[in-house]
Symmetry: C2
Subunit: 275 residues, 2 copies
């Protein structure tokens, strides 16, 4: 099976590395509109070959590892692929992408969200085991052709992923809490510190907690602006729920109700019983 | 030199382990008002011996590895130690603790904040290299006796810590941003998810970002209620600055000003140039 990967950054590059040792993958072709990414991808051996967009269309399976707005526009240029070609997107939002799929390729299209990533980006960020032991969410699978479904499940399970089926609307709502809100918080935390008079003196004290909380504030603004745009409504809702929770904490501290604060913190610790 | 450690949880227990191989440490004595902690500490070999509070007073150097409110009350019972005994507290706040030190032991007292920890607590959480390669902040050192200062610097550098001197007021302000605010955010994020209808379905999607952001929401509510209490004013201020930052993000998303969102995120990414 010939695989095509559009987008050779962290996600696409890591996929190339992860697919290398799978027996039924015969060749991995890469495409990226950024030429220096193409050069880097070959140098780092992320894909076997760089091909044109027209050549990518001849692959048996095409992965879209690009920002979510770009996924929507590329999909409009894939309507002429053979019926047997499977397209998989790896975007962090699902509802808008699914709605944008041209009807000619609706059966070919597998909407996937691998819950994997790091704060780094570009081909040099690619790592072989990025997807290993992580969850991949596949959405609205009843609308897909059986062969395409099976192919996607086979590939994802072979790179070590745990498969979860979910409705796109539920996915986007859940993802806004579990992924998009944390990114907003991390960016806001970083900006709070950077807005202070002496960020350097403050950061002198940074321990593991702050490093963890600010890590994803390194993430690509291009990628995340797109995600926030596509999941705007859910994200606004989860930000508001978070604001209420933080407001509760602030009010308790203002009122010096330390017993209540202990309870509020205690409730938070129960998360880890189900995580 | 005989060392006494009051409090045999994560911080005190890890200190015991870290001190084991230092040549000038002859014995490590432990005290904890929780008897099962004492038993566990001996079983895990965190200290050489469990002693009474009166015996601890005979050590050359006494570390207070207990919640910050308990530090203040224990200090009141240490006024009868010899002039040569050094007391070091490891609390996350400094100003209130320093103010509470009885004048008889002001020269003996070293206010220290090791920027180290994990979300776990209790003796079983202790790890040998907890302090290694981390920063320890020593506050208001001009008020301390030279011998005590030198002893503290010697010990902290021998367990691999990087020493930073800072005024207690600046420390508490900086710590509210770098440590106390992140804890409030992590607890609030955990509570936001736990307040939803299907926290389990949401957590199915948890990737590295969410795990990192919610990790410190496991931390001990007892310890952190005390910290929030003692650093109330600074923490309220940093929560308010954070709220403004998050509010800015929300407003930009509401207005669908995606160019501005990219800039806001871009500003946040610059944090990592100085971290």
């Amino acid at each position: 099976m010939k695989i095509g990967i559009i987008g050779l950054g962290l996600m696409g590059g890591s996929l190339g590395l992860g697919l290398k040792h799978i027996k039924f993958v015969s060749k991995i072709c890469g495409f990226d509109h950024n030429l220096s990414h193409c050069e880097e991808a070959i140098k780092l051996d992320l894909v076997d070959e760089i091909v044109t967009f027209n050549e990518i269309k001849k692959c048996d399976m095409i992965f879209l590892a690009i920002p979510v707005e770009a996924i929507i526009s590329v999909l409009q240029n894939l309507t002429d692929i053979p019926k047997t070609t499977t397209i998989v997107d790896l975007g962090s939002t699902k509802e808008k992408i699914i709605k944008s799929v041209p009807k000619e390729i609706r059966e070919n299209f597998i909407p996937a969200h691998p819950m994997a990533g790091t704060e780094k980006f570009g081909p040099s960020a690619a790592i072989e085991n990025l997807y290993h032991d992580k969850v991949v969410v596949l959405c609205n699978m009843s609308e897909r052709g059986d062969d395409h479904k099976n192919r996607a499940i086979q590939i994802f399970s072979h790179i070590g992923m745990k498969i979860v089926f979910m409705d796109a609307i539920a996915h986007d709502k859940h993802a806004s809490f579990i992924s998009h809100l944390p990114h907003a918080l991390s960016y806001a935390l970083a900006n709070s510190v950077m807005g202070e008079e002496e960020p350097k003196s403050i950061l002198l004290l940074a321990g593991g907690g702050f490093r963890d909380m600010s890590r994803i504030a390194k993430s690509s603004p291009i990628m995340w602006t797109d995600v926030f745009k596509q999941n705007r409504k859910n994200l606004l809702n989860s930000i508001e729920l978070f604001e209420k929770e933080l407001g509760k904490c602030k009010q308790i501290i203002k009122e010096e109700n330390w017993e209540e604060l202990g309870k509020w913190m205690g409730k938070a610790t129960t998360l880890h019983k189900i995580l």
